[in-house]
């Protein structure tokens, strides 16, 4: 190791230790357990991978919210997708994480092993490319994700229309983050003392989009980047706000997030999609939380073109993913975690997805819970403090 590198390491460890001791002090000042929620899968993974949780005091807990696209996708969508994949003329193009999520009729991975044509892509444009190269096949792109992937789906649909690619459709299940955050806050059985807002989504929708949450629900919000230091910085900021009784929107990711966001991406999204009701795994139906394909682009809607009718949802018995992604419990509280449900044999969606809370927990934090069961930290359920009724109205558009 070079001297310069050693110095750098020393500095980052010292800086982190300093932040951790500040957090300790703030936790003391607050004097009660607090629970913050991150909404982005990348935050979930990076916090676990860099060991941020191990540096936090026991009374401050960071839980995962509904920020992993795979985890919040309703099972009926998976079923529809797998059914579609089994039809002979169809090619399913999907992001890799969706491959292993099982619905009632198995997963895309199983369907593929039985002969379905399922291809993993890294972007919507790659899916469109498959359609261009195989005009004799019907290519269906499984479009999931939040405001981060929706503009790319819109771009693919616009390109397909421009070029007259007729054999490309999208089975869209895009979602908007804000309505889900508001639904969580409106639910009195969930305790959230502050949001670590999703950095990538904020890049698109802009920081001011989160203002409504702060104003209507008096819940602190910090927009944070993705390194360990940035995540810790965001948590520290939230703790400071709680300690001082403030509820502000703080943008700690100014290098990427502007007030207004990415207007080009917003325009693409607006051109092709319109807000519509959507069904979230764990959260149920939330008004205006989805993005429906506008009538003008119905030709590219796979639900329409291939007459797909989603069935009913049925959660795997015993699975507590729904509680995990709403902050009601942590993965190790689930009786299946690490026993019946592991990344190799996942039961619930949070264990399937590489950004899922359960998988991140299993991969990077399992030792905290295997070493000595009596030593467990963070296992007391954090319940809402004496019935604080959140403001009812105020959903920002």
């Amino acid at each position: 190791m070079s001297a310069a590198h050693e110095l750098h390491v020393q500095r980052s460890r010292t800086a982190m230790a300093h932040q951790a001791s500040c957090l300790d002090r703030l936790a003391n000042d607050i004097g009660r357990p607090v629970q913050f929620m991150e909404i982005c899968g990348t935050h979930t993974v990076n916090a676990c991978r860099s060991g941020v949780h191990s540096l936090m005091p026991g009374s401050v807990r960071l839980v995962s919210g509904p920020g992993c696209p795979v985890c919040v996708t309703a099972q009926r969508y998976i079923d529809a997708l797998v059914d579609l994949g089994r039809r002979p003329s169809i090619v399913i193009a999907t992001y890799g994480d969706m491959l292993r999520v099982a619905g009632a009729g198995g997963s895309l991975e199983v369907a593929r092993s039985e002969g379905a044509d399922v291809r993993v892509v890294t972007s919507s444009l790659e899916a469109l490319d498959i359609a261009r190269r195989h005009p004799e096949r019907e290519v269906v792109f499984a479009a999931v994700g939040f405001e981060t992937t929706a503009p790319a789906t819109a771009a693919a649909i616009l390109a397909a229309r421009r070029e007259g690619v007729r054999n490309f459709t999208v089975l869209a299940q895009h979602k908007r983050v804000l309505p889900a955050m508001i639904a969580l806050l409106a639910d009195s059985s969930v305790r959230i003392d502050g949001f670590l807002c999703p950095g990538h989504v904020a890049v698109i929708i802009g920081s001011t989009a989160f203002l409504g949450i702060v104003e209507s629900f008096r819940t602190p919000c910090a927009i944070s980047g993705f390194t360990a230091a940035q995540i810790m910085d965001g948590i520290l900021n939230l703790a400071e706000q709680v300690a001082c009784g403030r509820a502000d929107l703080v943008n700690r990711y100014v290098e990427a997030v502007t007030d207004a966001g990415n207007r080009i991406a917003q325009a693409l999204m607006h051109e092709v999609f319109e807000p519509g009701d959507a069904c979230w795994r764990a959260l149920g139906e939330i008004p205006d939380s989805g993005l429906d394909i506008r009538d003008a682009y119905r030709d590219f809607d796979a639900f329409d073109r291939h007459r797909v009718t989603p069935g009913a949802d049925r959660e795997p018995p015993g699975c507590r993913c729904a509680e995990v992604i709403t902050g009601r419990c942590i993965p190790s509280d689930c009786p299946l975690f690490g026993r019946a449900c592991t990344p190799v044999y996942p039961v619930g969606p949070c264990m399937v997805s590489s950004e899922g809370s359960c998988q991140a927990f299993f991969r990077y934090r399992r030792h905290e819970f295997r070493r000595n069961p009596d030593e467990r930290r963070h296992t007391e359920p954090i319940v809402p403090a004496a019935a604080t009724t959140p403001a009812k109205e105020g959903a920002p558009a």
Binding site: S12, R13, A228
Partner: protein
């Protein structure tokens, strides 16, 4: 348009090379007849030539010294066949050599089986066999027997290689997990994750990323013998960190010995470009395959000598001590991260990664 019939008779070079079966593998190349002989005599034997191979007998026959031998086998299906820093030929020789070397054996003789897809360009085969010859010379081994089969188009992906090898165990080496005790130090012989990421980025340039990454594929027999010459008695365990990466080896060590391993992330050597590529692809570099790195567990007192020996060899110049074996009996591998947090290292699960070896 009139169909073009290949002209065989006039003997000039142009017509000869324009005959399809002279440029590409055809089914008859695997038929055991004249074309098979042409393939072996024209391409394979001249490149790998040595007295044992040249007899072209059904089996290679050779003397061995008294003692113990190591025997290993592996198959190679990497896609693409050529990647920055190596190709399937070099990989097949190095992979087998390294499996022998980390058992404490001096690799001696290799076999090579080639499965060719109909239509494979013979030039590709030439390049691959050239590269095998070069790697074998580098490793000090001979390819003494082999086999070639051709399968119909679509039944294989261009070219697969199967190789086995034997080596003579060094009498002074005693390697095995059973010898690991608390206090032992864990070393890695150089930078991690270079092979897997170089191959992934090269594959059809799937991610549209330009990178200067190169695979680390290399024969490790020389580096291992350097280490064992310096402190054979104090080296208790060696394993090359191929599929499953460094994480796979460390998690296995903790699991099998039952001891707690503690690793310091800042001591794990990784090239900045590799770390960046892993970040972009959402991969943990510790999970990514290497083809020229091994993990060594040595007695604490010999750690410095072992590091000196490794660093004296060009393939081990960035060797580093990354952690130690502790007395806690929970079979966990814990890592102190760059920022001072703690997390566990586990075996990767075999995710959606392209074929990398």
């Amino acid at each position: 348009m009139k169909p073009v019939t290949p002209v065989l008779s006039n003997g000039s070079g142009w017509e000869r090379t324009s005959v399809p079966h002279r440029r590409r593998v055809v089914m008859a190349h695997g038929g055991g007849g004249q074309l098979t002989a042409e393939l072996i005599e024209g391409i394979i034997r001249p490149r790998l030539s040595n007295p044992l191979l040249d007899t072209l007998d059904d089996a290679a026959v050779f003397d061995v010294p008294a003692g113990r031998m190591a025997f290993t086998t592996d198959s190679y299906v990497v896609q693409p066949l050529f990647f920055p820093g190596g190709d399937i030929g070099r990989l097949a020789v190095c992979g087998t050599v390294n499996d022998l070397a980390v058992c404490g054996a001096t690799p001696r003789y290799l076999s090579v089986g080639l499965i060719l897809e109909e239509g494979l360009e013979l030039d590709v085969l030439r390049r691959v066999v050239d590269s095998m010859a070069e790697a074998a010379a580098e490793a000090g081994v001979r390819i003494v027997t082999g086999d070639t089969k051709v399968v119909a188009r679509g039944q294989a992906d261009r070219l697969y290689v199967q190789s086995s090898g034997v080596g003579i165990l060094r009498p002074d080496a005693d390697l095995g997990v059973h010898r690991i005790v608390p206090g032992d130090r864990v070393l890695v012989s150089g930078t991690v994750a270079d092979h897997g990421l170089a191959v992934m980025l090269q594959r059809e340039n799937a991610f549209g990323m330009e990178s200067g990454l190169r695979s680390d594929v290399a024969p490790l027999a020389g580096l291992v013998s350097e280490l064992l010459d310096a402190c054979a008695n104090d080296v208790v365990f060696l394993r090359d960190a191929t599929r499953g990466g460094l994480a796979g080896v460390l998690a296995d060590l903790a699991d099998i010995t039952g001891y707690r391993l503690t690793i310091d992330e800042t001591c794990i050597p990784i090239r900045p470009g590799t770390a960046y590529a892993a970040e972009m692809l959402g991969l943990d570099p510790l999970d990514v395959a290497n083809e020229g790195k091994f993990v060594a567990v040595v007695r604490a007192g010999a750690a410095d000598a072992a590091l000196r020996a490794l660093r004296s060899h060009p393939l081990g110049s960035l060797a580093s001590e990354i952690g130690s074996v502790g007395g806690t009996r929970d079979g966990m591998c814990e890592m102190v991260t760059v920022v001072g947090g703690r997390r566990v290292i586990q075996k990767p699960y075999g995710e959606e990664l392209p074929r990398i070896c």
